[in-house]
Symmetry: C2
Subunit: 122 residues, 2 copies
Amino acid sequence: MKSLLLIAHGSRRSQSNEEVKELAEKLKEQCADEYNIIHAAFLELADPLIPDGIKMCIDDGASSVTVLPYFLNSGRHVIEDIPNIVNDTKQNYPDINIKISSHLGASALMMDLLISTAHSAE
Amino acid sequence: MKSLLLIAHGSRRSQSNEEVKELAEKLKEQCADEYNIIHAAFLELADPLIPDGIKMCIDDGASSVTVLPYFLNSGRHVIEDIPNIVNDTKQNYPDINIKISSHLGASALMMDLLISTAHSAE
């Protein structure tokens, strides 16, 4: 079973964290045929943290985990922190295929998203 | 002439700020027929700040400015800080149509962007 783990930074403002969890729920409704399991996790400041998020996916029966950094910029969090945490966590699950996707900001579809967002002001 | 002003948070890491400016440049290439003028500006920590970004658009000849918050979450920055700064700046340009779009994270296309980003790990 394929799983997707959405990783946000995590905020002291619980509503921001809830938004990310709601996004993961919405994503689950829309692509249940492709990813059987979808969870959200946080780099810091909120639960679950990344290792716990990976564990949640595996406890749910995932044989693969795609970690998706929900970040716009390729800063230290995307380049170092998330890969380091994921690589450390991988050691505990040698039989599970755990991989990291590009961060959201790197997507080729970003232009379309920006234009459609700009139109919301019209 | 219509203009689009992309607003990011701004970072102490200059490469992150450059990424936002490059995104604005790319956007300019792709939608020059719709928005004649496109600039990037920052809420804090980097130049130009929002009032200067709005001024740049107007100095370039814009008759309207669409301010697009390049933010994923609807936190205080999106709900209060950016609208407050934009409303204050508006007073200086009574003849210009200055409006704020939804923030990026609110877009209906976000699901598509997430799925295509997840596929980059395959």
